[in-house]
Symmetry: D4
Subunit: 165 residues, 8 copies
């Protein structure tokens, strides 16, 4: 249901977190490599066939001049979520962020935080949950679990149990 | 179905474009003012009641330390789209962008381009279209119309008809 | 008297310095975790009960889209001091700084230097010292001690005793 | 009780808002010009005599290499609030912000948003309100007034009365 | 011989300077509109047919998330020159610059200065001049003309003739 | 045919990649050191004699105030490609990028991505290929090889063979 | 004694202030145009003959990729003062600042504030005053005059005479 | 003759290079610590007595809100050279650079490259050389030595002797 695409093999380091999060929500996904500049026809094919192949949301990550999410969005009307990646030769991550965020009117990319592929998956689940009661419920439970985890740390802090910080 | 919220009255200048775009897609919306820092309880109420009141997507715009989208997202599991606004005392728009983009894991904000409320609406329609065939079709037509408009300009350029540039 | 709140557990690394400085001034404090996005109701409760619980100043630290100080300030009229934290996925610390500094009129956050939780505590003591002669005196002594420490280094430099640099 | 100092005459354009806000809270203040680089001895005298002259908080504004707040803070232990000002030759306001925000440990400047002298005054009132019940009450009323103003705009929006936007 | 493509109609304001410069060098060119996000197939067609249609260099301009030059380069092996454009909602031009400059290995974009379409044309002529003696000669003359123009201004300055500055 | 020049010895770490890429394309090159600020006359001599010595493209890399590409371009009309280098005392690479990108009209530098000397070589080959069928063919093959390499990774991903990420 | 050089005619708008300041100190100067990229040989000649022609300090201003001060410094051992200029297509002035500030070891440029040609002249006078008692005295008087001007404004503020702000 | 002052002990790591360079030129210097914020009176004393004690140039280094060079310049009319230092909590060095570069008219700081204390010393020598033939000569020799060192590397490159890169 969700297509996760990375612009380069090294982006898998960051983007695997999206897959992991989707598995946690039991959302089927495919994860593959589509280089916008080295395999541009593959990008066209991927985006144009996405809907037919049953994809409903696309998560695309990239660093530097990160054209993958924006060009995916140009070839499909499915929602595209962009994950800017802070690669070694990036300008502090700003190049990745701005080259997917600053899309022109009509073709948005839903951009999430730098290197935060998990959040791209959460956002994808939120979109799918609009018409899927199980996912809507699972999202509430996920949030409750996050809350509980914070509260457990609060308790540990109260008991002075965080000595190792 | 879509809630458009602005952090300050002056943000309406930018955010009205979201309303206009939703009207074009015949998507019902409400547009109101929720100041995260001056009416924080209103923010809690708005976000917590959003789902019950039938909202499915929230579009929130703001400038400077733009906490509205992120805090909306904290109080609801509906997808929240953020529109960074370049206000007069902004640091080139970067403050608005970064304070809604850089959300922690579990609570994403789908951030779009600076001042581009239209794209927030397009993204909202794309989300809704996942379970609404009419909107999916309308989105395809919208894209075709954008394409046609470009092609008309191409024709005018070909004919030399763009003398006044 | 002073409430130190961190947005995430990893922020304790930086924020413990505030607690240490307050201990040095013998100012009572509490230190806890309040995630603005994962435990937003806890944030509301914390801020709204702060005055009643005897807090007079709140020090809040966070990284990325750092909404904790600003939202604390929205729910209380106590002075709130913000400590921007340079987390791993931060845009050079600028996101943290701008998302707490650029607050709208009426709801300021007293922002201090990046990662400088000690200075948040010093500022808190300065505020409390406005009506506490002991603290005013202690602050003068603290400054004198800083001065003396510099002068000892000056002496060592004069004697050529800083060979290991 | 509050000393408002500006680094240059042109800064009055921005800093007068601090005076206006203090008048609204009926907090006595003095407003004067202290150029850190053209009248540095005046800076020393001002800061060192501040406490004796009855000042309890200092608000200092400046643009570019804005040393006024930080050097004020070096010569007094009173809390100093800094207002970064976006002057004509500023680097987008970043120079003003960073040169007052990034103070070393022991000598903080409570920095507020770019050009937001009003917030410096609000923060000063919050500090004074720690030992002044009238001001604490006035601050609550001020916040309520801000809230009410937002709610009136909400009502106007509801009635469609904001045609002129 | 040279294809000038703009991503949006408003970019013509900047990009016409490239056409003007090429006319000055009597280099044939075509100027048209190719929106990478609204007419992505047109982009593919344009780039893939470029060599066959006799183009030897492509000049592509764009603002914001400026994907046009990079995607052109992905679909052709002709040299592509990118002109970053500082549009109204740009982040100081940095988004345009970084999204065309920071291309991955194998698919470069020869990026020139912000809004400097003239220089894209000069660079294109330099490339063509590698195998065209007339252009090589014309380029030398152009440079000499630039030099002479500076020297005329030097003379006017010497004579005090620049009173109106 | 191609002159690769580095501004400092430490830049060889980055710039050797240009030489390696040119060897791969069997394009003759020379690689040497020309410090624009320590050996400025050598810069003049190098640039002015470049054409006569048979050079057709110059690749120049540098960090910080990187004047080498721009000044090379001032003394020759051959195309000059600039490689910004992120040295230890660089401002995130921005100084290197901007000091070669932002050239005035008439004297462009074809700037490529930060630290991406390989792409400077690819761009040089693209320029030479305009009048060299062997290189044009080799460039197509290089691109095909890049494409094939991506596709092999795609296959490995499909087979789950990328366990070690 | 002081050579003021501008990189382009439009820079005179800013750089005339240097001439005006030098006249005020009765320091002889010459003001001319030396384009580093359009008249590079003139740059070499200017810098190499500077000492012989009696120049003792060079003030050089420029915008964008501002190579003039740094290359002047490469061809002479006289002190060179750089004035970064915020031209229309500048990246907020940062390009001009960084391309003259970030010089390599051995060849410094004494960089002053953005667009502040007056300060370049003041710095030049300070250098000359090291061996010129008249100038040392004049500099003290200039500073006193600055101080007096501030104090007059202080008086006017005290009298409430600054109504027009 | 030259006073080298550091704002904090950790800055010695960078600023020792200035002392080393001055020793190379046999220029007498003193090196000491003056914290602008912890020992502000020492700053006043240092700057005001500088001329009387025989100092002719002051080199001041600092990081973050680096007020030392600018405040030194406020209390003396001797030329002050600023060395911005990239400390651990710096915003990429930009805070240090801007808070010493962006000085107001009348009180310049001659700013050199980030962390480049050597260049501050070279600039100081250039200033002193204006009235010292030995130093003028030594500076020429220093430049020649830099040139020779580059040429030796050029030779090694030619011989292929740089295998270890």
């Amino acid at each position: 249901i969700v297509g996760i695409v990375v612009g380069g093999q090294s982006d898998l380091r960051v983007m695997n977190a999206a897959a992991e999060m989707l598995r946690q929500f039991q959302v089927p996904y495919e994860l593959t490599l589509v280089s916008p500049h080295r395999t541009p026809h593959r990008l066209v094919d991927y985006a144009e066939s996405a809907r037919k192949r049953g994809l409903r949301v696309i998560i695309a990550g990239g660093g530097g001049a990160a054209h993958l999410p924006g060009m995916m969005a140009a070839f499909t009307t499915l929602p595209v979520i962009g994950v800017p990646i802070n690669v070694a030769t990036s300008i502090g991550g700003l190049d990745s962020i701005l080259s997917m965020l600053q899309m022109p009117t009509g073709v948005p990319v839903a951009t999430v935080a730098l290197d935060n592929a998990s959040n791209a998956a959460v956002l994808a689940v939120q979109m799918l949950a609009l018409s899927n009661a199980r996912l809507a419920d699972a999202m509430e439970k996920y949030r409750a679990a996050l809350r509980d985890k914070v509260m457990r740390t609060v308790d540990e802090l109260r008991k002075g149990g965080l000595d190792d910080i």
